[in-house]
């Protein structure tokens, strides 16, 4: 009996053991399946969040500026910036120039964060060309150069640059010697995304112009003056002339019989012209001049500090005695043209030059000696010469370090949202 009982107990024990093994096996597979399901959801969340973050970055890049602020980033922070299915992207300003952009699905999923440092005109940049190949010839560049497409180095000898050349496309060289030029190809290391010029800047800026407190008329052109804005409407006059004279500016139409109107330059203000202008003079304030058409630079534009010192010498060297003071941003809806009068004179320009839809080029019919630009050129189409063997024999481009931190208030700042950190929080 004892033996039979033992055999039965053994049979039941074996059954329990097999049952336990079966249950363990099933549990193991179920746990693995659940774990894998979570992994799938995490992968899907990662793709959705990263796509949404990329889209948000692109919207930031393309957003127009209003009073020096990126309109996408500066919108109401209590609402999400962007929504994509269950993913929401929100922005939080965590310091004066750093935004934290967070993409989140639900509380149980990881959140994806990037920290974007909003930079205005990139420091030390002297030339940025958006939609076209940039030709670099016999010019001296003391700052970084960036072209969204190719950079073509036209020279019979090796060129030396103090800062990197960044090209989205290829580097082209006109000679074997030029090919020895040191360069840095590709910009993805420097820029998280392709920077774009502000799209609706003209319209947005026009919308900010307040009601005028004074009105003038000059040969059909109406001039509306408010506290920080001077607005000049279209007229029969082909071209308005602005001469900057320190704290004041003279507005004329080129008609010698009609005296110019003299106005105070609004400090850190805006001159908005519906049409073309000519400009020259010296400046001791911060100012943005915006035209819907082209800007022609007919003479030197010089900054003067409180001691009347300019930032550069006539040889194109930086002036160590200069204390940073004024800043000027010239924004043209179309082109910015160098057109010195008389045509053969050299030209010195202290300004940030922005051609929203056109180029920055020499419109002279004669050859001149030297062009010095203290600031930066930003244009959609590549700079060029109007006629072969005209223009400036030499050019010197010097960066204005102040543009990186204290550009004029109405300048169409380019955000280069450099991503300073990337984090996944579980």
């Amino acid at each position: 009996m004892r033996q039979r009982g033992s055999i039965l107990i053994l049979a039941f024990a074996l059954s329990f053991l097999l049952s336990a093994v079966a249950i363990s096996l099933l549990s193991l597979v179920t746990v693995r399946y659940r774990h894998f399901s979570l992994y799938i959801e995490e992968v899907q969340t990662r793709h959705e969040c990263l796509g949404a973050l990329q889209f948000a970055s692109q919207l930031i890049l393309k957003a127009p500026y209003q009073n020096g602020k990126n309109s996408f980033l500066s919108c109401n922070s209590s609402n999400p910036l962007l929504s994509f299915n269950d993913v929401t992207v929100s922005a939080k300003k965590i310091s004066s120039d750093i935004y934290e952009i967070t993409a989140k699905k639900q509380d149980s999923y990881p959140t994806y964060k990037i920290w974007i440092k909003e930079r205005s005109i990139p420091k030390d940049f002297v030339a940025i060309v958006f939609d076209d190949t940039l030709n670099i010839s016999d010019s001296k560049y003391a700052g970084s150069i960036f072209a969204i497409r190719d950079i073509n180095i036209i020279s019979n000898e090796e060129k030396v640059f103090s800062h990197p050349l960044l090209a989205g496309g290829k580097f082209l060289f006109s000679s074997l010697a030029a090919a020895n030029t040191e360069f840095k190809g590709g910009y993805s290391d420097f820029f998280p995304s392709t920077p774009r010029p502000p799209q609706n800047y003209l319209e947005l800026t026009r919308a900010t112009i307040p009601s005028p407190s004074k009105t003038f008329e000059i040969r059909g052109a109406k001039i509306f003056v408010s506290q920080e804005t001077i607005f000049i409407t279209p007229s029969s006059t082909p071209r308005i002339s602005l001469v900057l004279k320190g704290e004041q500016m003279e507005i004329s139409t080129g008609n010698e019989t009609e005296p110019p109107i003299s106005l105070d330059i609004p400090d850190d203000g805006l001159v908005f012209v519906e049409g073309e202008i000519e400009i020259r003079g010296y400046l001791i304030k911060h100012l943005t001049v915006l035209t819907t058409k082209s800007i022609r630079i007919t003479g030197d534009i010089i900054y003067l500090d409180e001691n009347n010192k300019p930032p550069i010498t006539s040889e194109g060297e930086t002036n160590s005695l200069y204390k940073a003071g004024p800043s000027l941003c010239l924004v043209a809806g179309e082109n910015i043209v160098y057109e010195p009068k008389p045509p053969s004179r050299s030209l010195t320009i202290c300004a940030l030059l922005v051609a929203l839809n056109g180029s920055i080029y020499s419109g002279m019919a004669l050859k001149s000696d030297l062009l010095i630009i203290y600031g930066a050129r930003i244009c959609r189409k590549r700079p060029f010469r109007l006629i072969r063997d005209t223009g400036f024999a030499h050019a010197i481009y010097l960066p204005d370090p102040k543009l990186a931190t204290h550009a004029p208030k109405f300048a169409p700042l380019l955000t280069i949202p450099s991503i300073v950190a990337f984090k996944i929080e579980k």
């Binding site: 039965l8 097999l18 990329q54 299915n85």
Partner: protein, 142 residues
């Protein structure tokens, strides 16, 4: 005196056999279920990684070429022995949140021509979806 019989009774034998059969059936079922689930897992994993590769390839296409991929099919090989199964489908749409409407304003910003939602379906099941932008970033999502 008759010697005492030591063999099992019929009831004992039936009981023992029943318990053993039930346990063995359960064990066998468990093995089969585990094997099925493992195969399904392997397939899902292959589908997911395959779709990630397809998404990666699509994200590297020029934006205008990508837009033309709407409705395109793709194939995945689910195991080393199997042949490629052409059950994948690409959906490219400007309707980023998939609600059937193009909402241009915040927080959707749809229809601006600068971004599309790419959804990858396999056997009619949504596997991955992602916004792909016209001006892709070089840092995030690598």
């Amino acid at each position: 005196m008759k010697a005492q019989t030591k063999s099992f009774t019929l009831v004992e034998v039936i009981l023992a056999c029943t318990v053993l059969v039930v346990v063995l059936l359960g064990f066998g079922q468990a093995i089969i279920t585990a094997q099925k689930q493992t195969t399904a897992l392997e397939q899902e994993f292959t589908i997911l990684t395959g779709c990630e590769e397809v998404m990666d390839r699509l994200s590297k296409l020029p934006f205008e070429t990508l837009r033309k991929q709407d409705g395109a099919s793709f194939a995945l090989k689910l195991s080393p022995e199997s042949i490629q199964e052409l059950s994948g489908k690409v959906i490219v749409s400007e309707d980023l949140n998939g609600n059937g409407k193009i909402e241009r304003d915040a927080p959707y910003y749809e229809g601006n021509g600068d971004a599309v939602c790419v959804s990858l379906l396999f056997r009619d099941k949504l596997i991955l979806r992602r916004i792909i932008c016209k001006y892709p970033t070089g840092v995030i999502g690598q």
